[in-house]
Amino acid sequence: MNQMSAEERMVKRTAPYDLCDIRIRDASEDELKGISEALSLGLSLDEMKAVQNYFIKEGREATDVELQSLGQAWSEHCCYKSSKSILKEFVFGIDREDILSRGDAGVMVFDDDYGYALRVESHNHPSAIEPYGGAATGIGGIVRDVICMGAQPIGLADPLCFGPIDTKKEIPQGIKHPRYLVNGVVSGIRDYGNRIGIPTITGGFFFDESYTGNCLVNVCCLGIVKRDDLLKNYAAGPGEIMILFGGRTGRDGIHGVNFASKDITSTSEDDSRGAVQLGDPITKEPVIHACLELAQKHLVTGMKDLGGGGLSCVVGEMAIELGCGADVNLDKVPLKEAGLAPWEIWVSESQERMMCTVKPENVDKVMAIFDLWDIIATPVAVTTDTGHTRLFWDGEMIFDMDIEFLTGGPVYNRPYELPKVSTKADEVFPELPALNEVMKALMSDLNVASKEWAIRQYDHEVRAGTVLHPMVGKLNKTGPGDASVLMPVPGRWKGLAAAVGCNPWMTGADPYKGGKACIDEAYRNVVAVGAVPNAFTDCLNFGNPEKPDRLGEFREAVRGLGDIARELNIPIPSGNVSMYNEAPGGVYILPTPMIVCCGLIDDVRKAVSADMKKVGSCLFVIGDTKDEMGASLLFRKFGGKGGDVPDSIPARLKEVSGRLLKAMGEELVLSCHDCSDGGLAVAVAEMCISGQIGAQLDLTAMEGDVNVKLFSESASRWIAEVDGADVTRFTEIMGDAATLIGITKGESLVVKGTDLDISVDELRSAWNDPVWKVMGGDVE
């Protein structure tokens, strides 16, 4: 038989709408590839063959709607085909009784009456193309995931990775300058988050050349829900009405998931513009109100956000959970513009749309609530007992697929190569200038320097529940905090702490230890404020999984995350994977497992902040400082090589945290800050900056080389400030985990026996000014 072009295989149906029947059953391998390409399905040959077999068994040809639907459902983004088996092996299945749901967002017990929701996800690829809209819609999506649980969103956290904003290097064709991206992303988060009235309480900025071509925008949302009002994300049975509500459906965001599952190419900007969605925070805000009212009045059985894949994914997923099917009247979907083809409506990723399932007797009540808030809501489908999704247009069936097949998706065990890791054996310790210069260089490194330029553009106090703010210390002379703490239920002192942990450099140098280090950091940030770590959510940002070295990094990092989380017995009730983070020319990002840790604190009035409180108190380093210079800020800054990457010992982390929390519970700790980038020296300097107090250190009680003591980034460590009168009790509780390193004193940071003697003002300006200088604005 002669080869037929994909176009020849597509037969336009004679109908008042735009539909093609596609001859797929007798297509050759090449022709299958041609069809996948012509329709931008993003499906491989093997996947196309599975599709072909399905239609052969069904005894009919496919419609374009059906193929497009498969393209969405089987994308990496929707079905995690490359990562699922690894996640299953290492991180799934950490169970605890206080997990209330593993739905669109994870939900954990907050107290006897309430649960809290948490979820983080990526919005990397759209943000690289259109940073403002990409970031804004990222927030919109994650907020919807929390609302779907019936939860009131209470906090946002946005860890972001970019190329250095002060880079002097040539930016490759088709890539936007990091400064432009940072400005756009921060503006997008600001405008969306502020407008929907959810405080942005924490986050992080990570700057590295590897992100220049592919920035990372991870967005996290926390929520609070009465345990009685907790929603499911699926229909309770056949015969329920599916109501589509929120925004209208348009061409924006067509093929977003396939885009997210491909590398960014230098032409991405032109051919994928349709993949970036536009957001509308002022539709979202009433949607939040309406959804919460529906949940509180128990008027819906399930609720779900239309994310990747749009209607094509949400309908099947809501139906199949309890074995239902769904009949959809696609022509009822409200549109932004006339003339969309059925397949476009079915896969569009237009923002602000959600679906709920409602018992027929409650439909009128539900529609009345939407009406009060001027929200467009349309019954578009009914659940059935067929196990099939069927689409109708003016009564004519244009789609009929077995949902199990549609949502099943392929699972791959792709080949991987284990990475070579950094060790002490190949360590080259860098030449260092005078320690004052070293300190200034570390404090002004973009990864340490103040991010106040961004933080103050985010409303971090709206909802009036922010107890510990992202910046702590003297008013308008603040320094960095650890975790932020919220008081989610008015009138109750119980608090929810949240912090980000991520160290892509450690993960790059030793993915297994690095994965552990990310969890360790998030965990110790939460402990630093006096909260007990309770759950993690993770966003795993990695390169192309079809390349064995990248997948090897992923596998090792995930193994690390899983091992430490399991030993700590802390569940990960939600998460997200973002693959294919690569720029043109084969530059790929550092492996970046972004962790958010949530913790609980019984009484927020006992929360501890990181700013030094007074002159004359004692400073302790908590935890064990080791010769682990691998991937440290000092090495990165001054050209060190190799070295052991810090290894977190979960049992020790747990034990030391327990003691520290006990001391905090007895109100023995005046201030506490975790040791991360730049080690002990930078941690103490930051506490000086936020407290506007100097410190006199004497590190002789610690073992090892002084540069290691100052700058090693060994895991599971904190600096604690303790009043002299409480030292006996404090050391009794801490045992071998606390080492006295000095006192708060004067106006400079001084380390005995070294040439380090630098004023707090100098430290402050080294730390405070760099980002302001690049991004513009007045320096405080």
Binding site: H177, R179, Y180, G776
Partner: protein
């Protein structure tokens, strides 16, 4: 049928942070020779009215909603 354009701009002497920030950013991206950047807001309104009435209607829109006379001036034109 008429289409009117409503141009809302800042009165003389009112600082324009959006404009000056945009100028700074353009310059930071390496563009030279920019003398000034002014932010203005435009509305395009389609009306089922004859031209002269459309113009008068536009004036009313500005007074009632679209412009704050303290900081903004407006100009209504018919296409």
């Amino acid at each position: 049928m008429a289409i009117i354009d409503i141009r809302i701009e800042l009165k003389k002497g009112v600082a324009d942070p959006e404009g000056s920030n945009t100028k700074k950013t353009l310059e930071s991206l390496g563009f030279g020779g920019i003398k000034s950047v002014k932010s203005v807001k435009m509305f395009e309104i389609e009306l089922d009215l004859p031209e002269n009435e459309a113009l008068a209607a536009g004036e009313e829109y500005c007074k009632k909603l679209l412009a704050n006379p303290v900081v903004q001036s407006y100009k209504v034109t018919v296409r």
